[in-house]
């Protein structure tokens, strides 16, 4: 059972989201909070796998909340679920390292798939935000220093590409004819060897530098 936490200050929306998730198989909402502060308090006594986080909230907003959650509970995967579709907000959240970004206008199917697949390190964004995400990446190209010059091994690159497509470690192992633990080792290596905070950062790095083509990421899952 996937344990989901919802943090949103709009109580009617929160209730509807809980009801929606309740209707998805294999998931349960174990925590509801109306702001970041309340979330952090409740996380002390509740174990959570996936966090659905709103941005605009009183007391402690999403920008402030996410780094705190990440520091204290690095195993929790965070998906932003907000009304905001502004590039500046997406960019900021992306740089902080959230695993997904969806607006409240997303279809339930898309959201369900994201929650289900987020357990794997991937790159999950609402299809409708595609243009904005491309722009964020474009704008960031200049922000990234060019001299890092990483040479990934061929295997590592394959793992990065397949991860970017949202494949589970199990499926990657199958596709590359290697064992599951080898895939996980590769993932850990990629992060440790080159100093990436998460697989997401490694994927972003590859996209900025044209190592991985964006079109190969945004394929139909």
């Amino acid at each position: 059972m996937l344990r989901i936490a919802i943090t949103d200050d709009h109580s009617i929306f929160r209730a509807s989201l809980a009801a929606l998730i309740h209707s998805f198989e294999g998931m349960e909402v174990v925590l509801e909070a109306s702001n970041g502060k309340e979330l952090l308090e409740k996380l002390e006594s509740t174990k959570v796998d996936v966090l659905l986080l709103d941005i605009q909230m009183p007391i402690m907003d999403g920008f402030e909340t996410f780094p705190k959650v990440r520091e204290a509970y690095p195993q929790i995967k965070t998906i932003v679920l907000s009304l905001v579709n502004e590039m500046s907000a997406i960019k900021k959240m992306l740089q902080m390292g959230v695993q997904g970004y969806y607006t409240k206008n997303t279809s339930s199917k898309e959201l369900e798939e994201a929650i289900r697949n987020i357990e794997e390190d991937g790159f999950f964004f609402e299809k409708g935000l595609n243009a904005v995400i491309q722009e964020v990446l474009e704008a960031q190209k200049s922000d990234i220093e060019e001299d890092k010059g990483i040479q990934f091994t061929e295997r590592e690159l394959e793992v990065i590409k397949l991860t970017a497509q949202g494949l589970k470690a199990k499926d990657i192992a199958e596709q590359l004819h290697i064992s599951l633990s080898t895939v996980n080792n590769h993932k850990q290596n990629i992060q440790r060897k080159y100093g990436f905070e998460s697989m997401m950062n490694a994927i972003l790095y590859c996209v900025y530098h044209g190592v991985v083509d964006l079109d190969t990421i945004f394929i139909e899952k």
Binding site: D9, H10, A19, L20, F63, E86, S88, A89, N105, S108
Partner: protein
């Protein structure tokens, strides 16, 4: 019988008194006229300040009502419809739920863009530069025939939200003018520091116009609004003569 001399004396005294009264009242009139004008202009400045402030407050109130409350409730309605859709077996009903969901989604989009226009949602949290970039990004998407270039020396601008809002509106108005009237194919927006103040610069390659002259004769409120807003935040507008197109600079202090 009065003598000739005393009659003349009365005449002169009378004249002097009359002249005194005339000049005094003239003086008083001019003095008060001048004072009145001064008070009037102070009053209109105050009126302007208050009305711009009210406008900002109202926009903020409406935008946050739409954005925080209405949109959230609509999203909730959409979620419930999706639950119904997922549970429904009857194909006709499924189709209907889908249509309801689509309609709700469209309303949400409309409300989003209206509220973002009224008050950019990230102004308070992420600041002036972030909302300018968001705005230019959106405009570029809507007008692919115009090439927007951005050149920012600073990534952030230390500025009170209320002033940042006015500056944002000015920038929006300048860009709107270019899109509506100039037939430009290229626009460049820059922000840089010049000694102790900042400069927001908008250059286009469209039809040349004289800002001050147009602001005086124009029927629309656009250019006049720019002047008012700049006066409120004590910023100044300079038009630099350009061989082709226009170059407008806004000079301002950060607070």
């Amino acid at each position: 019988m009065l003598g000739q001399g005393s009659l003349e004396a009365y005449f002169w005294i009378g004249t002097a008194v009359m002249l005194f009264v005339i000049f005094t009242s003239l003086f008083v009139f001019v003095f008060y006229y001048y004072r009145l004008n001064k008070v009037k202009s102070e009053f209109s400045d105050e009126l302007l300040r208050v009305s711009l402030e009210k406008e900002q407050q109202e926009r903020r109130r409406i935008a946050s009502g739409l954005h925080d409350s209405t949109s959230g409730t609509l999203a909730a309605a959409k979620n419930y419809v999706e639950i119904l859709y997922n549970k429904e077996q009857d194909e006709d009903n499924k189709k209907l739920f889908e249509l309801v969901e689509k309609a709700l989604s469209e309303i949400m989009k409309d409300i989003q863009s209206t509220s973002a226009y009224l008050m950019p949602p990230m102004l308070e949290t992420l600041g002036f530069m972030a909302v300018v970039k968001d705005y230019i990004g959106k405009v570029q998407e809507l007008h692919p025939d115009i090439k927007f270039q951005e050149d920012y020396e600073l990534q952030e601008l230390p500025m009170a939200t209320a002033s940042a809002y006015e500056l944002y509106r000015v920038m929006q108005e300048l860009i709107n003018n270019i899109i509506k009237h100039s037939e430009a194919s290229q626009v460049k927006i820059s922000l840089y520091k010049q000694s102790k103040s900042f400069v927001l610069e908008v250059i286009d390659d469209g039809k040349t116009y004289d800002f001050n002259k147009e602001a005086k004769i124009s029927q629309g409120m656009g250019l006049k609004n720019i002047t008012s807003r700049l006066r409120k935040i004590k910023a100044s507008l300079k038009q630099i003569p350009n061989r082709q197109g226009n170059k407008i600079q806004i000079h301002f202090k950060s607070n």
